[in-house]
Symmetry: C2
Subunit: 217 residues, 2 copies
């Protein structure tokens, strides 16, 4: 089983490298243009998207993405892999005053599934705390681990399961896992519904978010 997991991890590593190469192919960076890429363009991380106001998701950001990430004025990053955060990324966080929260979820390929519900629950508390916003949730490819956390968040937002799965599948595409979807379906949100910290996202809790109010003016 250990070997299986390792090979799954290696496979993900290789896929990630290929994706990143393909993603940035044709792009030339000179020294002075690194932060925004050539021609002053921004390069969002792989699988980047906005989850809600102040909450973003993506795959692993590399140096080419730092210029874009700066524009988000992040307060924190929620990193979902057990591997140490790379030095370049740590430096980026440090120089931009961004706090790092790490919840190491193993990448395990079906049928060796072991998503620790307690860690997902702790991770969600970080996401729900407006003091951490804007926050970027990321794992390696922005598909499985990030997809599970976002799916559980949607459950808290009272999205129906078919919509949660639809969103999960949009990011996971051909790599969608029934086990991830089953995890989201069975995930118990009851302990998260009465968090003392302010809940800022729409439909979470029963009150209108003061945090969202300025947007509607």
């Amino acid at each position: 089983m250990g070997v299986e997991e390792d090979s799954s991890e290696d496979e993900e590593d290789e896929e990630l490298e290929e994706d990143v190469k393909a993603f940035h192919s044709g792009r030339l960076f000179t020294e002075g243009e690194k932060s925004t890429g050539g021609e002053g363009l921004y390069v969002p991380p792989l699988n980047f998207a906005m989850v809600d106001c102040g909450v973003y998701r993506s795959g692993f950001p590399d140096t080419a993405n730092f210029g874009f990430l700066e524009t988000l004025k992040l307060r924190s990053v929620l990193y979902l892999c057990p591997e140490p955060y790379p030095e370049a990324n740590l430096q980026f966080l440090l120089s931009n005053g961004i706090k790092l929260f790490q919840f190491g979820l193993e990448s395990c390929k079906e049928p060796f599934v072991n998503i620790p519900e307690d860690k997902i629950r702790e991770a969600l508390k970080i996401v729900l705390d407006a003091r951490n916003h804007p926050i970027l949730i990321h794992c390696k490819r922005g598909k499985h681990r990030t997809g599970c956390v976002v799916g559980c968040l949607r459950k808290l937002q009272k999205w129906c399961l078919s919509s949660i799965f639809d969103e999960y599948q949009r990011f996971a595409a051909a790599k969608a896992r029934v086990s991830d979807q089953r995890f989201m379906e069975l995930f118990d949100t009851s302990s998260l519904k009465n968090l003392p910290s302010p809940l800022t996202l729409r439909n979470v809790g029963s009150f209108e978010s003061p945090y969202l109010a300025p947007i509607h003016q």
Copy 2:
């Protein structure tokens, strides 16, 4: 050619109906629960996502989605099909004080491509005007016409093309069109860069958006 376009339109209609059926299958609504679906759950429209703060995208919303849409507190809807807006949807907009902007873009299947650049430009001006936010951009399936408008918006936000295409493909999936992507690539943003109305989205224009500021507090 006319026949080809019609059959393409019919095909999209059928696909949409199938999608909507599949999407809501297994869900039972009683009269009193219609707004949020059974069990008080929300049903976002097909292909729903947040584009930026105050800007959403989706496929055609039906009555099952109205409860969810109410939570967004929309100020306007940007509808990208030439067909008249259905009565039920018009009633929903009316009773929620939501303004409708319609830019009828024909749905044309490759190689019969004719995306009118002037209409996309006018549509973008509506999206960029913060007085219309929160705004929902939608067409029939939330893939091609909506994908093109969002792609052009990303160009204004200075996203690199590979990231724009990555996002477009996430929604269009197997239906992704080279012609749409070529349109986005060739779309000239220069006339939109100095709009007199406030530009509210990150990286559009050169100033910090006052509209986004409260989020970072």
